[in-house]
Structure formats: structure tokens, C-alpha cells
């Protein structure tokens, strides 16, 4: 076993060697521009792009023509939301999205608010699931788009996407989902799931960074978008720019591998995740799982270790790559807004750790990680005045804390 150990597969994944092998010829000998219609170099690239487009479409039950290549899911989210907002501006100006979306969705919505659009931010239930009644009552005559992520990047909670899509379609509203974490990990089908637009990316499924796609439904309903990137009219006019053939080939290969191996892989990862969870919960007291365990990605575990601040825990397990909802580890110096939206208190949000398992993790690594975390949590609890007080029976919520004024 080699250290450091990578358990942060929601952030990104290492590239599969098979993906790299598929890509390599397209950097050098097969370098043509897929838009060159009048010579063999172009045809060769175009053929590779179309093969990849089909591989990706097959994984989500779509038609290849419904796949629009982008630079990644951030661009896909921007294109979906801004593209719909602009295209359907005459129909309405209202968008609905949960407060726990990725910043690529939330900040795009905020930008639109500055341009006169109205956005309703839904709160979530304590288990991280959307309240369907709240969604129903939020839809108005002016609503043009609902955007709800398929599975959350922090807590791995999977939303009832098919039902959300059904509600949207009954009201004639388009449904976009950020499918980044679910795509290639759990079965996703745009028809059964009633999805009109879906953002996906290659680097979360063992493909290269810098390539993603937006699924855009062509029938029932036919979704139209205003392009956000103008130029040569590539990708049916929705996203101009010379196609990144090597990365697209890699994206396609990664999707094809996921198609073949997903069922087996998700079983294996769920087993490893459960082993990690059981070990931590047996050996340590006062640990809390954030978000529903039942409706959850097989590779995700988000746990709060009460009375142990997240960054100090990360420091103690510095041979393991995970992430924390602690303020100290975020750029904004605020604890996780996702956990906050679930009603997890700031005190527990500071103590949360996200474990993201992936294709290349082993059972040996899980055992090692569990033991290291247990060891460091115990050490830090010996150091924690809060743990000491809790053990003395003091109710921490009743203590008048002398917080520093700068916070």
C-alpha cells in the first residue's frame, strides 16, 4: 500500500490507464479538426468524436445528437441556466433551485438575479432530500426552469429526480440537473428520469479534466438554448469552438468503461464505504452521518466527529486526502453551506469530513484510513475542552461562549 491515500474522489478522480491509451493517438498522428469536412484528417477526428458522443449518450439513455460538448460541468451549468433564461425570457423570468447546489449553479442564478430574473432557493429536509410539496408550491406561471442536482457533491444524497422532472413537466417547466456526481456512478436515464438538461463531466469518472457535456433534450419537449459562446456554430450552434478531440475520446472511453463496470463497481464501493462507516461508528462515540444513508451515492460518506475541528483532523491524517466542511478549510472561511442548509449546526459542520471512495481504492486502504482516523480523533478529543465538558455532562448549547468579536 502506498501513501498518501486518495479518498477525495468527489473532487476529481485519477485517470484510468485505458482512457489515457485511447486518447494518446489523438494528440499526435490523429490531430485533425473535427470540423474539417473536406479531408481525411478531419473525417478521422469527426468519426472519433461521434463514437465518443454515442458512448456518452448510451450511458444516460440519450440520443447522441443531444450531447453538446463543453469545457466541463461549470460551463454546462452556465450554458443550461443562462441559455434557457435568455431563450425563454418571453415566457417567464423565474428559476427554482435548492440552496445546496454547486456554486456553478448558485452563482449563475445570482448573476441572473442581477439581470432581473427571480430565483427561489429551496431549503432541504434534514436528510438532504428536496421537499416535493415545497417545489410544487414554488412553481408559478413565470417559472421557466427548475435546477436540482442529481447527487450532492458533499453529502452524496441522491434526489428523487424522476419525480422532480414529472412535477416540472406537468407544469410545463424545464428541468435541469447537475449530474456530475451521479453520472457513471449510479444508473441515470434521461427518459425515465424526466430530465431536459443535464450537466456532466469526464474527470469525475476517471477521464480527463477540461471536458464536459450538456445533455439537451430534442423531443417532448424540444429544448432550445441561447448560445453563450459565439463563433463557428459548432455543436448545433449551442457551443462554438473547435472540438477538443483527444479529451472527447477520453470522455467517451471513460463513459464506455463506466457502462460496463458500474454495477460491479458500485457494489464494491458501497461495501467499502459501509465497512469504513461501521468501523468508525463502532470505535468512536458521538459521530454523526450527514444526510440520508439510504438515498446516497455508494462511494460517499460524510461524517461529523463531534468536538474535533475538521482542519486539525485533516492535519493529523496528512497521509490521507479527504476534505472537510470546516470553515478553516474553505476559501470563504465559512463552514459548509450544504450542511447548514440541512440544519446541521455550525459546531458540527466544523467537525465534518467527506470521504469519497473511487475505482482504485482497496480494502486495505479502507482499514488503514479507518484506523488512522480513529487514532487521531481520540488524540484530538483528549485535547478538546468541549469533549471534556460534554463528558462532565455539561450541555454545550447552554454555555455562554465568549466568542471573539472578529468572528
Amino acid at each position: 500500500m502506498k501513501t498518501p491515500i486518495y479518498f477525495d474522489n468527489h473532487a476529481t478522480t485519477p485517470m484510468d490507464e485505458r482512457v489515457l491509451a485511447a486518447m494518446l493517438p489523438y494528440f499526435t498522428e490523429k490531430f485533425g479538426n473535427a470540423a474539417s469536412r473536406n479531408h481525411a484528417f478531419g473525417w478521422e477526428s469527426e468519426k472519433a468524436v461521434e463514437t465518443a458522443r454515442k458512448q456518452i449518450a448510451d450511458l444516460i439513455g440519450a440520443n447522441p445528437k443531444e450531447i453538446v460538448f463543453t469545457s466541463g460541468a461549470t460551463e454546462s451549468n452556465n450554458l443550461a441556466i443562462k441559455g434557457v433564461a435568455e431563450m425563454y425570457a418571453e415566457k417567464g423570468n423565474h428559476i427554482i433551485t435548492p440552496a445546496t447546489e454547486h456554486k456553478a449553479v448558485l452563482d449563475t442564478c445570482k448573476k441572473l438575479e442581477k439581470h432581473g430574473y427571480r430565483v427561489t432557493y429551496l431549503s432541504l429536509k434534514q436528510d438532504g432530500l428536496i421537499d416535493l410539496d415545497q417545489l410544487r408550491s414554488a412553481i408559478t406561471d413565470k417559472t421557466i426552469l427548475v435546477s436540482v442536482m442529481y447527487a450532492n457533491n458533499e453529502i452524496g444524497v441522491i434526489q428523487p429526480v424522476a419525480e422532480i422532472g414529472k412535477i416540472c413537466h406537468e407544469r410545463g417547466v424545464l428541468f435541469h440537473t447537475d449530474g456530475v456526481q451521479a453520472f457513471g456512478k449510479v444508473p441515470v436515464n434521461v427518459i425515465k428520469d424526466n430530465i431536459d438538461l443535464m450537466s456532466i463531466t469526464a474527470h469525475k469518472i476517471y477521464g480527463p479534466k477540461g471536458i464536459g457535456a450538456l445533455y439537451v433534450r430534442r423531443r417532448n419537449p424540444r429544448v432550445q438554448l441561447t448560445a453563450q459562446m459565439d463563433g463557428g456554430g459548432h455543436e448545433r450552434g449551442m457551443r462554438s469552438g473547435t472540438l477538443n478531440t483527444p479529451s472527447i475520446v477520453g470522455f467517451g472511453e471513460a463513459a464506455a468503461i463506466a457502462q460496463k463496470e458500474m454495477a460491479e463497481e458500485s457494489k464494491r464501493l458501497a461495501h467499502l464505504r459501509d465497512k469504513l462507516k461501521d468501523k468508525l461508528m463502532t470505535e468512536l462515540d458521538e459521530v454523526f452521518i450527514n444526510g440520508s444513508l439510504e438515498h446516497r451515492l455508494p462511494n460517499n460518506l460524510n461524517i461529523s466527529f463531534a468536538y474535533v475541528e475538521g482542519e486539525s483532523l485533516l492535519m493529523g491524517i496528512n497521509d490521507i486526502a479527504v476534505s472537510s466542511g470546516s470553515a478553516c478549510t474553505s476559501a470563504t472561511l465559512e463552514p459548509s453551506y450544504v450542511l447548514k442548509a440541512l440544519g446541521v449546526g455550525d459546531d458540527l459542520a466544523h467537525t465534518s469530513i467527506r470521504f469519497g471512495l473511487g475505482r482504485f481504492n482497496t480494502e486495505e486502504e479502507v482499514d488503514y484510513v479507518a484506523n488512522r482516523v480513529i487514532e487521531v480523533v481520540r488524540k484530538l478529543r483528549d485535547l478538546s475542552p468541549l469533549y471534556e465538558m460534554a463528558k462532565e455532562g455539561i450541555d454545550l448549547s447552554q454555555v455562554a461562549w465568549a466568542a471573539e468579536p472578529s468572528h
Binding site: 492535519m315 466544523h350 483528549d382 469533549y387 465568549a402 466568542a403 472578529s406
Partner: protein, 135 residues
């Protein structure tokens, strides 16, 4: 974030971890910060009544590595000082000693506050004691 060697050293080998009897009239206890903010420091001093010198100091900290290091360092520094000398310790000295980056300056502020709170508690206890003796 890269930690300085001194922060790592205090994190890996924290000095003076533990608790003193907070009911002891010669022990001053300072508790600063809040769980919602992600840092709570408890710093305790035991003062020699005759000399006014801090004989022992203990801490427990909930917080990031820099907060742990700042409080660990504070316990080292206050030992052997009089309470008034301890009050003169400035957060900027902690920042310099541990090479804390700007985002971690609040950890040093908290450590300075913890010393002040502990000394304040000790002085309050002493004043109450004198008052009760004179009554």
C-alpha cells in the same frame, strides 16, 4: 495549506495538555471562543501565592492546528512569568514565533485572550478570597 515547522511540532507534540482543578483558589481558568466559530481554547494557570509566579499551565483546545499550536505555545511562555508579565504577551509575538499566515492571526488573538481571561479569573478569585477573609 502548508504549516510552519513550529506549528507542526506543537500540533504533533502539544505541551502542557490537560486540566487543573478549577476550584483551586490559586488556579485561574480562561475559556475563549465558541464551537460555532470553530475554535474554543481553555487555558489554566496555577500561581504561587507567595511569589506571584505562574508555576504551572495547562490547555485544551478545539480548533485548527494553528489554534492548538498558539495555545500550546502560550502555556510554555506563561510558565515562570508573574501574572503581570503574562498579561504583557502580545498576539503578534505568537504570530512571529509560529510564522502564522494572515488567515490564522485570529488563533493568536484567541491565545492572548485566553491568557488574559485566565489571569482575570485568578485575580477575581484572589480578590474574592481577600474580601471573604476580611469579612
Amino acid at each position: 495549506m502548508a504549516y510552519s515547522e513550529k506549528v507542526l511540532d506543537h500540533y504533533n507534540n502539544p505541551r502542557n495538555v490537560g486540566s487543573l482543578d478549577k476550584a483551586d483558589p490559586n488556579v485561574g481558568t480562561g475559556m475563549v471562543g465558541a464551537p460555532e466559530c470553530g475554535d474554543v481554547m481553555k487555558l489554566q494557570l496555577k500561581v504561587n501565592e507567595a511569589t506571584g509566579v505562574i508555576e504551572d499551565a495547562k490547555f485544551k483546545t478545539f480548533g485548527c492546528g494553528s489554534a492548538i499550536a498558539s495555545s500550546s505555545l502560550a502555556t510554555e511562555w506563561v510558565k515562570g512569568k508573574t501574572v503581570d508579565e503574562a498579561l504583557a504577551i502580545k498576539n503578534t509575538e505568537i504570530v512571529n514565533e509560529l510564522s502564522l499566515p494572515p488567515v490564522k492571526i485570529h488563533c493568536s488573538v484567541l491565545a492572548e485572550d485566553a491568557i488574559k481571561a485566565a489571569v482575570g479569573d485568578y485575580k477575581k478569585k484572589q480578590a474574592e478570597r481577600k474580601a471573604s477573609v476580611s469579612v
